[in-house]
C-alpha cells in the first residue's frame, strides 16, 4: 500500500503542507516500513492560477496511492480522489513521520467531503474574497466534476 502526504519538503522530517492543491510536494510513503518510495514535485502549482487542486489530485491518483494525508482538500480535488477510490484524511499536521505514525495508530478519520474552506476562490474587487459559490445543499460547493470512471 502507498500513502501520499502533502509536504513542504522531501524527507520524513519535512512538515505536512496544509494545502492540498498548492502543496510543494507529495511524498509517497510505504507505511509498512516508513520508506519514501516516490516524491511528486508540485511546486509549479504555486504559479497556476486555476485548478491547482485538480492537477494535484490527478498526479496523486496516477501515483497509485490509496490514502492521502493532508490539511485541507477543495471540492474538485476531493471529487477526483473519490473517483480514484483514494481515501482522504484531512486536518493533518506535524512532520511526515508524525503524520504517518498517527495514521498507523488508527486514530485518523477519513473525510466524507471536501474541506470547503480550501476552495481557492479568486479575490474579488467587490468583496475582497468571493463567497463560496454553493448551488444547493450537500453538494459541496456545487463545483464537482462531471463524469465517472470505470474503475482502474
Amino acid at each position: 500500500m502507498k500513502i501520499a502526504i502533502s509536504s513542504t519538503g522531501t524527507t520524513m522530517e519535512s512538515n505536512v503542507d496544509p494545502r492540498f492543491g498548492r502543496a510543494s510536494y507529495f511524498v509517497i510513503v510505504d507505511p509498512e516500513n516508513s520508506q519514501i518510495v516516490d516524491v511528486i514535485d508540485n511546486r509549479a502549482s504555486q504559479e497556476a492560477a486555476h485548478g491547482a487542486g485538480i492537477n494535484a489530485a490527478t498526479m496523486v491518483a496516477q501515483s497509485g496511492a490509496e490514502v492521502v494525508l493532508t490539511g485541507r482538500v477543495g471540492p474538485k480535488a476531493f471529487a477526483i480522489l473519490q473517483a480514484a477510490g483514494i481515501k482522504v484524511v484531512s486536518e493533518v499536521s506535524g512532520t511526515i513521520q508524525e503524520a504517518l505514525e498517527a495514521f498507523r495508530s488508527g486514530s485518523a478519520e477519513f473525510s466524507h467531503g471536501p474541506d470547503c474552506h480550501a476552495h481557492t476562490s479568486s479575490p474579488s474587487p467587490r468583496t475582497g474574497w468571493q463567497a463560496e459559490s454553493g448551488q444547493g445543499k450537500n453538494r459541496g460547493c456545487g463545483c464537482q466534476g462531471k463524469g465517472k470512471g470505470r474503475g482502474r
Partner: protein, 278 residues
C-alpha cells in the same frame, strides 16, 4: 464616441457617473451595463426590458464509448477543466474557458460539444436611451465572455452617437474586455488613501491599452489631496469633482440619478462629454 466608466474597486460612484453621462448628453445614447456580476444601473435608469437571450459557452462533454483515456485533452487544457487518470475522465465545466483545445486534440472524436449557460443579455429602452445589460448566473465566474457578447449585442463596432459602458470594478480581465475599443476611459475614485491605491492599479491596467484616460473624484471634500496630487504627477487629467452632498446621498439611496437633484450637474456632465469628444 464610446466612453467606458471604470474604477479600481466597487462603491466609488462608478455607476452614478455612468448614469449621469447617459442622462446629460444631447446625442442619441446607448448605455451598456458591463458590470455583469452586479448590474445596478437599471435601478437608476429604470429601463423597459424589451428582449433577452441566454448566453451559453461551448464546453466539452465526453463520449466515453469512444475515449481511450490517452490524456491529450488533459494535457492541452491550460485551465485544468478536464482530467484523465487511469480509466477515468472527468470534466469541470465551470473551469472551462471554451478555448476549443480539447475538441481539436482528441483523435478519438470523443469530445462532444455541450452548452453551459453562463448568463443572460437583456435590452430595452430607458426613455430615449438604448439600454443593454448582461447578468451573470449567480456563482458563475466567466464574466469576460458574457461582457464580450453584451457588447456584440449592441452592434458595438458600428454604433453611432454616444455609447456609455459601465465597467465591472477592479483591474482584471473583465475590465479590459469592457474598455477595449472604446475612445475614452473615465476612472472614478474617492479622495482617500484607499481610493488612491485602487486608482493607481486601475490606471496602470488601462494604460496598457493606450486609451486616453481621465479621472473623476467622487465625494470630493471628504478626504485628502493625495488623489489630486498623484493625477498631477502622472499628467492624468482631473475631469471633474463631484462634491459630497446630503441630497446626492439620499437621491442615490432612493435610486434617483443625482443629476436630477444636483443643480447644474447635468450641464457640467454635458460639457465634459463635449470636451472629451473634441
Amino acid at each position: 464616441m464610446k466612453i467606458a466608466v471604470a474604477s479600481g474597486k466597487g462603491g466609488t460612484g462608478k455607476t452614478t457617473v455612468a448614469v449621469c453621462l447617459a442622462l446629460s448628453s444631447g446625442q442619441p445614447v446607448t448605455f451598456v451595463d458591463c458590470d455583469v456580476e452586479e448590474p445596478n444601473s437599471h435601478i437608476f435608469l429604470r429601463p423597459e426590458i424589451e428582449g433577452s437571450r441566454k448566453f451559453h459557452l461551448p464546453v466539452p462533454g465526453i463520449d466515453e464509448s469512444r475515449c481511450n483515456y490517452c490524456g491529450k485533452c488533459r494535457d492541452i487544457c491550460r485551465f485544468n477543466a478536464v482530467t484523465v487518470f487511469g480509466k477515468t475522465i472527468m470534466t469541470f465545466p465551470d473551469m472551462c474557458h471554451s478555448c476549443g483545445g480539447c475538441f481539436l486534440v482528441c483523435e478519438q472524436d470523443a469530445v462532444r460539444e455541450e452548452r453551459r449557460n453562463i448568463g443572460v443579455i437583456e435590452w430595452g429602452k430607458a426613455g430615449e436611451i438604448d439600454f443593454f445589460q448582461g447578468k451573470l448566473r449567480i456563482g458563475e465566474a466567466m464574466s469576460s465572455p458574457l461582457i464580450k457578447e453584451v457588447k456584440k449585442q449592441t452592434l458595438f463596432e458600428e454604433k453611432k452617437g454616444l455609447t456609455i459602458l459601465d465597467a465591472p470594478p477592479g483591474t482584471s480581465c473583465p475590465v479590459i474586455k469592457t474598455v477595449r475599443d472604446t475612445d475614452f476611459v473615465i476612472l472614478v475614485t474617492e479622495p482617500t488613501p484607499f481610493g488612491l491605491h485602487d486608482l493607481k492599479l486601475a490606471a496602470s491596467t488601462i494604460s496598457t491599452l493606450g486609451i486616453p484616460t481621465g479621472v473623476i473624484i467622487n465625494k470630493s471634500g471628504v478626504g485628502d489631496l493625495g488623489v489630486k496630487n498623484w493625477c498631477k504627477d502622472q499628467g492624468l487629467p482631473l475631469l471633474m469633482e463631484i462634491p459630497f452632498s446630503r441630497e446626492a446621498a439620499s437621491a442615490y439611496a432612493k435610486g434617483v440619478p443625482i443629476v436630477e437633484v444636483e443643480h447644474g450637474l447635468k450641464e457640467k456632465f454635458n460639457e465634459l462629454i463635449e470636451e472629451i469628444s473634441r
